[in-house]
């Protein structure tokens, strides 16, 4: 317990960790502000401006529309109009200008939809926080190796297993704190936004949001401990980032080359998304069940939440199983 408190203190004193934690709080808020801006209510001024722009567009295209109208009247079949239609000119006119956008369509601004926008925001913010948590775990361990202070710490607590676990515990709790703070501020902001816009958020949406927060929080903790364990194994933050870069770049490609019937099931991003989104559906034309004849319904595979958690959990356990014994046995510089 004493060591855990020391590691939490060490974590909180690290500048890089503070910076990444701040980013984990600020970036989701920026995403929220961006959502608020892109879903801001359409004002009268917006509509007037849209009407003016539509009129200008129509004026600019008037000659071309007139030409098209004339051609359509002469050759209605080319325009998909039955020549026996009672009023061909009216039908052509309808076709030419009937699709003219309304001012609302011209503005093209979505209304805030708590269910859809909340889920999208939560997914993106959760992914971002998980990535930052991974960096927190990696940089936290990497700093000890880079400065050489790991050996100094072991002169005070030579039980390496305890040191490893205390640091892992510190990273886990640190990531939990960061994810919780980030989520609390984000969803408080989202609640404020919906209230301000007078948009109702149903209990079901909040329940889904809570579940999403739980899943992304879990992902952040897994990522932080994974980043920590990998860095304790490689003894270098840069090494960890290099491995992750290669995994991100070539991991799916390598898995795709393996003779697996459902290779995409093992793609890292698919499993991450399955955890965040409570399951992930992907298209794979190489699936044995995939056929154009039946409308491609068999071309979709699914990674469930449980499968995603098991996949990421197995990766984490594998990394820890290499990291801890390595730390126990190898010489410390």
């Amino acid at each position: 317990m004493r060591l855990l408190l020391v590691e939490l203190r060490r974590l909180s004193w690290r500048n890089a960790v503070r910076l990444l934690s701040l980013a984990a709080v600020v970036i989701p808020l920026i995403m929220l502000v961006s959502l608020a801006w892109s879903t801001r209510p359409v004002t009268d001024a917006d509509l007037k401006r849209a009407e003016a722009e539509i009129a200008a567009m129509q004026a600019e295209n008037a000659d071309m529309v007139a030409q098209d109208l004339e051609m359509c009247t002469q050759h209605p079949r080319d325009w998909g109009i039955d020549p026996d239609t009672a009023d061909v000119e009216a039908a052509c006119t309808e076709q030419m200008v009937g699709w003219a956008p309304t001012p609302e369509e011209w503005v093209g601004r979505q209304r805030l939809e708590p269910a859809q926008h909340g889920m999208d925001l939560g997914t993106q913010a959760g992914g971002m926080v998980a990535m930052l948590a991974l960096l927190i775990g990696a940089t936290y361990a990497g700093a000890d190796w880079q400065s050489g202070s790991m050996s100094n710490q072991l002169l005070f607590e030579p039980r390496r297993g305890r040191v490893w676990l205390a640091k892992a515990g510190g990273v886990l709790l640190g990531a939990l704190a960061v994810a919780a703070t980030s989520a609390a501020l984000l969803w408080a902001g989202f609640a404020g936004l919906t209230a301000w816009r007078d948009v109702e958020v149903t209990g079901a949406v909040w329940r889904e949001t809570l579940e999403l927060v739980g899943r992304t929080g879990l992902l952040a903790m897994l990522a932080a401990v994974g980043g920590y364990a990998l860095t304790m194994l490689l003894r270098s933050t840069v090494g960890t980032l290099g491995v992750l870069f290669v995994l991100g770049l070539a991991g799916s490609m390598i898995v795709g080359l393996l003779p697996l019937a459902d290779a995409q099931r093992w793609f890292l991003p698919h499993n991450v998304l399955a955890v965040v989104q409570d399951g992930y559906r992907y298209y794979d034309w190489e699936l044995p069940t995939c056929s154009e004849m039946d409308g491609e319904t068999g071309c979709y595979g699914t990674v469930t939440l449980g499968e995603g958690v098991r996949f990421l959990g197995a990766l984490l356990v594998l990394t820890m199983a290499m990291s801890l014994p390595s730390f126990l046995r190898r010489d410390v510089p």
């Binding site: 202070s149 100094n152 710490q153 072991l154 002169l155 607590e157 030579p158 039980r159």
Partner: protein, 327 residues
């Protein structure tokens, strides 16, 4: 037999890298008695730091046995480490933390009250700079902070690996005084150093190693040996040399003086006086540790084994073992 605070038997460390292996420590026997300052000497790459790192659990021994305070390490390290303070190679702290933060993290990890951090900082005269970031410290301040860290444990054994490296003369004197003060307070100090004069001045006993093996060990006075030659000044050194040689003495010329082997000044005086040559000066020539060290490690740099028979030194390999060597 004195109580030993450090003891190694047949300690061996082999580094393996890309299929190649290098023996850093070769069946090293080391015995450091309780109390006083024990020097640990050897050329670069002789295995001093590797030995210290193995003793402290930072590096695994390939074979052999080690004990601190009679407790076998690394198995019993958790039990003995609270009594051991150490600075291995250069001081290693988190560069972005202040000196005080670095010490607080260490003290809290062993349950030492924060007030002891202030005391340790004051002992090494860093109280005024404890709020500065470690990376802004001078080398001397870093060394002092490292020593302050060792003091947090109030250790019974202090292991210092080149503690005066990079320090200015005032800093060196300060560290030496600290070492002597600690030894005076009953702390056993193992001092690994390249500065032979320092070891000679500060240490009560010393071990000299080369190529990972113990070359000699014992009290510094014994290592230096009794005087084995006398410097003689005469009005006519040539005639004096002939007389002494005729009497069976081994005589060498050095800058107009005679160096006469042997430890019987009365025989030299009598021999010369009987022949009508009167001494202007007769002084014993004592070896310093540097001479002993260079003689013992002469072959090391060239890759040859040392001449263990040279000088009045004992070799554990040829003698009666470490306890005997330390007498």
């Amino acid at each position: 037999m004195p109580q030993l605070v450090i003891e190694t038997r047949g300690l061996r460390k082999v580094f393996r890298h890309r299929g190649r292996s290098r023996v850093a420590v070769r069946d090293l026997d080391l015995a450091v008695p309780a109390g006083g300052v024990h020097g640990f000497l050897g050329p670069n790459g002789s295995g001093k730091t590797t030995t210290i790192r193995m003793l402290l659990g930072l590096s695994r021994a390939t074979s052999g046995r080690m004990a601190l305070f009679g407790e076998e390490v690394p198995r019993r390290l958790p039990q003995v480490m609270p009594q051991v303070g150490a600075v291995v190679e250069s001081p290693k702290f988190s560069p972005n933390f202040t000196g005080r933060q670095n010490l607080l993290l260490l003290s809290r990890s062993i349950g030492v009250p924060d007030s002891q951090v202030d005391e340790a900082l004051a002992t090494v005269s860093l109280s005024g700079r404890d709020g500065d970031r470690y990376k802004g410290y001078s080398l001397g301040m870093k060394q002092r902070l490292a020593i302050a860290a060792t003091l947090l444990k109030q250790p019974q054994l202090l292991i210092l690996d080149e503690p005066t490296n990079g320090l200015d003369p005032a800093g060196i004197r300060e560290i030496r005084d600290t070492i002597r003060d600690l030894a005076g307070a009953g702390v056993t100090v193992l001092l690994s150093s390249h500065i032979l004069a320092e070891v000679q001045q500060v240490c009560d006993s010393a071990t000299i190693i080369g190529h990972g093996r113990t070359l000699a060990s014992g009290p510094v006075e014994d290592l230096l040996g009794a005087s084995t030659a006398h410097r003689v000044r005469l009005a006519d050194p040539d005639a004096g040399a002939r007389v002494l040689t005729a009497a069976g003495h081994v005589v060498r010329r050095e800058d107009g003086l005679l160096l006469v082997d042997g430890d019987d000044p009365a025989a030299i005086t009598r021999c010369l006086a009987d022949a009508g040559h009167y001494l202007a000066e007769l002084a014993p020539v004592r070896q310093d540790l540097e001479a002993v060290f260079l003689e013992l490690t002469r072959g090391e740099a060239m890759g040859h084994g040392p001449d263990l028979g040279a000088g009045p030194l004992e070799s554990p390999e040829a003698g009666t073992g470490l306890e005997g060597a330390l007498r």
